[in-house]
Amino acid sequence: MRILSYQRMSTEDGPGLRTTLFVKGCPLRCAWCHNPESISRELSAEWIGVRCMGCHTCVDTCANGGIVAEQESVRIDNDKCIRCFSCVSACPTGALERKGEDASISEIFAELIKDHAYFGADGGVTLSGGEILLQSEEAAELLRLLKESGVSTAVDTSGYCNRADIDRVLPYTDIFLFDLKLADSARHEEWTGVKNGRILENFEYLTELRREASSKFGLWVRTPIIPGATDDEENIRSIADIIGDKADRWELCAFNNLCRDKYERIYKDWNFKSSELMTRERMEALVAAASAAGAKNVRYTGRTRMEEERA
């Protein structure tokens, strides 16, 4: 399985305390993505400047000229890099980091189970993106092992996948965290690179399954609230129409700017680098709009803009 990283004691990826597995590879290209290093399935090396001591060990180590010394930094030339990661192994400070690795299911499982004691009644493991369902066979095996060990499971998906992918993980998934970003398909394509038809079909599929008495999985919808992209009330009302009363919970996830440095590390310009956080009033207004449109259990998460200090 091609994975990116783990986050333990995660508090925002489903109920309770969780360990979240992030994987590499995503079919979407969301312009606001706050884990841009997870989009490509390709392995890569990244340079984290603040850690670098400027010893240029990496420059000397690379046999392919894949690392270029610059005035006060080094630059990775991804065209020349052959992903051998000898620079990462040689770097004394850990300024060079490998992004992505291929790990066995048993290795991953061993890591995910470490916090079992902290999961409590509600918590557990969340498999997240990139897009976890691009690797649905491995994901299903992992989820099965977790369920066997009594761990509650969640799958965090963009919904952009084949129905067969859903079917594979379905028997071992307690909660789906399902992203509905934009109701309008053209806008969805504009901002994420794909139309939303498949996503909506899969959402419909899951909600129908939930009508059957035998299926007991939970369904949380998540909508990133991105300034100028998804944060209009019309979008929220339209998504509310799609959801109806079919989800257990709907989270409006406020735009996050803490990933700004991640874009610099992958040498990409980020459209949102100067965008401000959402205001609390705006998030509350959107929650109100969603609720007014008939959605149940709507809440917002994430940081909002700093308010002026109040006397």
Partner: protein
């Protein structure tokens, strides 16, 4: 005691008027008209001395003041006329009699405005009560002990000395039955002695205890009289009634058993403050035990007879105030209201009862209210005991208080792991009759978090503070200091003498097993050196420093006719506190990784880098810091190695017993503030640390090493203590450290921001109960630390800030975002 109880942001709650007055008054510090500064008393002989420096051997900051204290106290001391034949009596009898006179006849008795409790003054320094010959002998022994202790400290081994406090007297007995019954108990023991024994040491000790029994009674009479005198002059009817009530309390307790909550608190305070008087040391971990348990019957009785919880809070508020006046002892020393030494009048609340049942009661919650209302304040130190069956209601309250206080206003103690350690102790010391499955849940903590049994246990919980890292320095030097030490006072460099055994020149240590063997040998030497050093102080304390009043409050002393300082307690241990644990483990791991596994350098090359404080060896230093494995990440290999080091040093500790008092050595991990100070003494270490950087604190991972977050950190701590097994010490829990292990984790405020997150935080605590250590201090991310991280990013590269679930490396997110996070953290909780 490294905990952060004070915070700029937490404000005390709604306090009753009188409590608010007393609390504010306390914080006026040196500006107060009244204070509890030491009263000093002398026998008036030319050779007399009061200040007992060996008590402070474990407080290195005070070393340079010893001679000043010694002389100035003596000069300030009031001479107390001695009775006929004083010096013909035994030392304990002299001390008991002298202290009785000092306390009852000379120390001022005073009542503070609005105060509901009697017993204001108790800090005193009293004569050693020795003859000229005894004093001469004692002084010469002390000089030798001082030389040894100073050398131990200056050469980076740590500090050691037999000190006061750090126990839980049998307060429950006095509150229940009064000194009257205690006196009868001791008298019966005395009467049963043979005539020979009566004339001997035993008889003398019991007579001293009987005299000491009278001290609280006589002082209570004095206070009762004072209350009545003041009542007569009092114009305000309400206050007059209060003063008369206080007088009636004094008529009853502590001589007789308490009948209600008010009397019980009064009895407890009076009994407690006289321990501090008897030991000539304010509040050094003289702790209260399970306050909500043994006080509950009185609480219940008073509630049933109509006393309100609001009035109880007023009584307890006065109790809190008095505990804090311990700090007045040296109110004019140092810059911070005399807060120059470590205190820790600790009490436990909640916790387990028989068969894993939960013992939380209404008084538990009342005490939590008082803690919340009084906080921030230093004393008494609350410690909440948690276990598998802790009710949600208590955890909710705990989490609420943590999130509202900018850091927990209490320590958390974890029963299962703690009890496993105490049962291990019972096994190691053959004390199963005194500590077993049927009573171990009645343990309690002293000082900061040191676990002991109650009322019969003196375990010298802070007496030997060993820098485990020193053993590595001795390996580098083949038994010598590998770099000479400079004496701060004289400016002289030490000679490199052959102190430890020859374990081989570095170039001959050609595999890691050999290196580890050398480390083990040097560590054994370090422990032995401590034992020898400690004995020098233990002899003095046991021979010349009896505390007959305290001894009568510790089961075993009267029965054996031995003072508590002579090892008279039923459970008599002394403790090694392992300091620099993670620094040592990480340094060993770094040696293994750099020298033997990856062959990045030879051992002599690594030592050369350390000699140069890593200067000119930055690449190697960074590899040590960032490539070598570290304890604290839930990495099995590193944590198993940590457990191996833990087993090594703790096994060795159990091999020793004090020669003069037969106290077995036991292990623990509390680093107090030593990990900061010793960082300036110990040289650069193989984990990449430069000289003068902090060492690791107690059981905590090294600074910045816990990159996988709080759960991984806690799992590592649990594993290092011994982890779990089907052959556990208690249930499946194993624990090498009966004394407990101090663990601190810092959280951001967003971890506990709302009801949802508080539930999640509760899950963390429930997980800690299963996997973690014995004690946890929760700190909240300090904006000052973040500012420091902005200035010195190299020291904080692993600092993760979690902002609503999103992890970011603080140092890499750019200045503006950093500023914003600092601003947010600064304004939380307002």
């Amino acid at each position: 005691m490294e905990t952060k109880y004070l915070s700029a942001l937490k404000k005390p709650g709604q306090l009753p008027e009188r409590v608010k007055f007393l609390r504010d008054y306390f914080f006026e510090g040196v500006k107060r008209d009244w204070n509890n500064e030491y009263c000093c008393y002398s026998t008036g002989t030319d050779w007399d001395l009061q200040f007992n420096e060996i008590t402070y051997f474990i407080v290195p900051e005070t070393y340079s003041f010893f001679d000043t204290f010694l002389r100035s106290v003596n000069q300030a001391a009031e001479v107390i006329p001695l009775p006929e034949g004083f010096f013909e009596m035994s030392i304990p009898e002299r001390v008991a009699e002298f202290n009785r006179r000092a306390i009852v006849e000379h120390m001022p008795a005073e009542l503070l405005p609005g105060d509901l409790l009697c017993g204001a003054r108790f800090n005193m320094l009293t004569s050693m009560c020795l003859t000229k010959a005894e004093q001469k002998k004692r002084d010469s022994l002390t000089a030798k002990a001082r030389e040894s202790a100073l050398l131990l400290y200056k050469r980076g081994y740590g500090n050691s000395g037999s000190t006061s406090g750090h126990l839980i007297p049998d307060y429950e007995y006095i509150v229940k039955y009064g000194f009257e019954k205690k006196y009868e108990d001791i008298k019966a023991l005395y009467d049963a002695l043979t005539e020979m024994d009566k004339k001997g040491k035993k008889g003398a000790q019991l007579r001293a205890m009987m005299t000491a029994c009278q001290t609280p009674r006589e002082l209570a009479i004095k206070y009762a009289k004072l209350c009545r005198e003041q009542a007569e002059k009092e114009a305000d009817d309400k206050r007059r009634a209060e003063l008369l009530h206080m007088a009636e309390n004094m008529d009853r307790v502590p001589w007789h058993g308490a009948q209600n909550f008010y009397e019980a608190v009064q009895s407890l305070w009076f009994t407690h403050m006289l321990v501090m008087a008897d030991e000539n040391y304010p509040g050094p971990g003289v702790s209260f035990g399970r306050l909500d348990q043994y006080m509950y019957p009185y609480y219940k009785k008073s509630i049933d007879s109509g006393m309100t919880e609001e009035y109880m809070k007023e009584i307890l508020g006065c109790f809190w105030f008095h505990c804090n006046t311990a700090y007045d002892a040296q109110i004019r020393v140092g810059g911070n209201q005399g807060i120059t030494a470590g205190f820790g009048q600790l009490f436990n609340i909640s916790g387990m009862g028989k068969g894993g049942s939960d013992m939380t009661n209404d008084l538990t919650y009342l005490l939590l209210d008082v803690i919340d209302d009084m906080s921030p304040i230093l004393e008494p130190k609350p410690n909440v005991r948690l276990h598998r069956n802790t009710p949600d209601k208590l955890l909710d309250r705990v989490v609420d208080m943590v999130s509202g206080s900018q850091g927990a206003p209490f320590l958390l103690n974890f029963d299962e792991r703690s009890m496993a350690g105490l049962l291990r102790e019972a096994k190691m010391a053959g004390a199963e009759k005194l500590i077993n499955e049927d009573n171990v849940f009645d343990y309690a903590s002293v000082g900061c978090l040191e676990n002991t049994m109650v009322g019969n246990d003196r375990s010298g919980t802070v007496d030997n503070n060993i820098n485990l890292l020193k053993a590595m320095e001795l390996v580098y030097g083949d038994g010598k200091d590998f770099i000479p030490f400079k004496d701060d006072m004289s400016g002289k460099w030490s000679k490199q003498t052959q102190d430890g055994p020859n374990t081989g020149a570095p170039e001959t240590l050609d595999n890691f097993d050999k290196f580890y063997g050398a480390f083990a040998a040097q560590l054994r030497y370090c422990i032995k050196r401590f034992v020898d050093n400690y004995e020098l102080t233990e002899v003095i304390r046991s021979k010349y420093q009896p505390t007959p009043y305290l001894s009568l409050l510790v089961r075993g002393c009267a029965e054996s006719g031995r003072d508590v300082t002579e090892g008279g307690a039923e459970l008599s241990f002394t403790t090694f506190e392992g300091v620099t644990f993670a620094t040592t483990v990480d340094s060993l791991l770094a040696v293994k990784y750099l020298v033997y596994d990856k062959k990045e350098c030879t051992l002599p090359e690594l030592i050369e880098a350390l000699r140069h404080n890593w200067e000119g060896h930055e690449i190697l230093q960074n590899k040590a810091l960032h490539r070598a494995p570290k304890y604290g990440r839930d990495d099995s290999e590193a944590d198993d190695f940590a457990a191996r080091v833990m087993a090594l040093w703790t096994d060795e500790v159990w091999n020793y017993t004090t020669a003069s008092t037969s106290r077995r050595y036991r292990p623990g991990m509390l680093s107090w503030n030593y990990w900061v100070g010793a960082g300036y003494i110990l040289k650069a270490s193989a984990n990449g640390r430069r000289e003068s950087q902090f060492l690791s604190n107690a059981i905590c991972p090294s600074n910045g090493a816990d990159i996988n977050g709080p759960t991984a950190n806690s799992n590592s701590v649990g594993k290092a203590l011994g982890g779990k097994s089907e052959y556990g010490d208690y249930l499946e829990y194993l624990n090498c450290l009966p004394n407990g292990a101090s663990h601190t984790i810092t959280f951001n405020t967003s971890t506990m921001a709302d009801a949802d997150h508080k539930e999640k935080f509760k899950s963390f605590l429930r997980g800690y109960i299963k996997n973690g250590g014995t004690a946890l201090q929760i700190n909240i991310l300090d904006p000052e630390m973040l500012k420091d991280a902005q200035q010195n990013p190299q020291d904080y590269r692993h600092l993760l800030v979690r902002v609503t679930g999103y992890n970011a490396y603080f140092t890499s997110i750019g200045r503006e975002l950093q500023d914003e996070i600092i601003a947010r953290e600064s304004h939380k909780g307002v």
